[in-house]
């Protein structure tokens, strides 16, 4: 079974694959422009609740607000 969890639930240095983005058209678009597309590997670099998260994706580090990161759904098991 494939697990689907919000990006924010990853612990630091944990990696996962982006499954989908739960958001409106604007957010989905913005995030896909930055590289958050289906099947892309992300790594949680820094996360301290409350506050923004820092993730690594496609060779860049991107800081996201926690609310936005909650809407990015990832699968930590498909990490291969």
């Amino acid at each position: 079974m494939m697990s689907k969890i919000p990006l924010t639930t990853l612990s630091e240095n944990e990696e996962a694959i982006v499954v989908e983005v739960w958001g409106g058209r604007g957010l989905v678009r913005r995030l896909s422009e930055m590289g958050f597309t289906h099947g892309t590997k992300v790594k949680m670099l820094h996360s301290s609740c409350p506050g923004p998260v820092l993730v690594g994706i496609r060779g860049s580090r991107i800081a996201l607000g926690r609310g936005v990161a909650m809407k990015i759904i990832v699968n930590p098991e498909a990490d291969s």
């Binding site: 678009r29 913005r30 422009e33 930055m34 590289g35 496609r58 060779g59 860049s60």
Partner: protein
Amino acid sequence: MTIRVAVIGNPNVGKSLIFNNLTGGRAHVGNWPGKTVEKKEGKCRHKGVEMQIIDLPGTYSLTANSIDELIARQYIVNEKPDVVIDIVDASNLERNLYLTTQIMELEANMVIALNKCDIADQLNYEIDVKGLSELLRVPVIPTVATTREGMTELKDAVLGAVKGKPTERLVKISYGKQLDRLILRIEKALQKDEELCMKYPTRWLAIKLLEGDKEVLGIINESSSKDEVTDQLLEAVG
């Protein structure tokens, strides 16, 4: 004759470094994105031709949603630079080429600088530069901004692009049969306004209208073809 050259690309691909290499300028370069929020200008001479170089803010896209993207877009649309250098991170092609497609839709006279080739090499990426160039019908120049590799070739390509006819190498990006048909219908309605067609690429306007782009909707509001375009759009939305 002075030719105007705009430099554009995703954040943190080395735009400012290439800008400095070209102009001998000292724009602040830092290894973090978003260094360039305003546009910067500089000059350079190559083979007797004066080039005015404009460094645009780094963007992932060219929507009307944020000020930096709008600055970059309005510059390309309104000022119509002779050549646009699109700086693409070779170690991160997929995401970078999205912006490239946006610039293609603006029908800009583009030259691609495939930067960070050294990093792509380290990652063992093999990029088919010739294939990429043929596919996009745009000159693609491999560069390493940090060591100034490819700068002369880049300037040569810019001069070559000025002489060439960009209309002959226009590539239309298909959105699938259904949408393409719709885009074409909206384009036809737009073409009733000749002044508008002189100023903007109609296919780009049509696509942005379907996306609900606020700035472009505003432009159409002032146009003489407003009613026809609105009819087509309403029909499209159903």
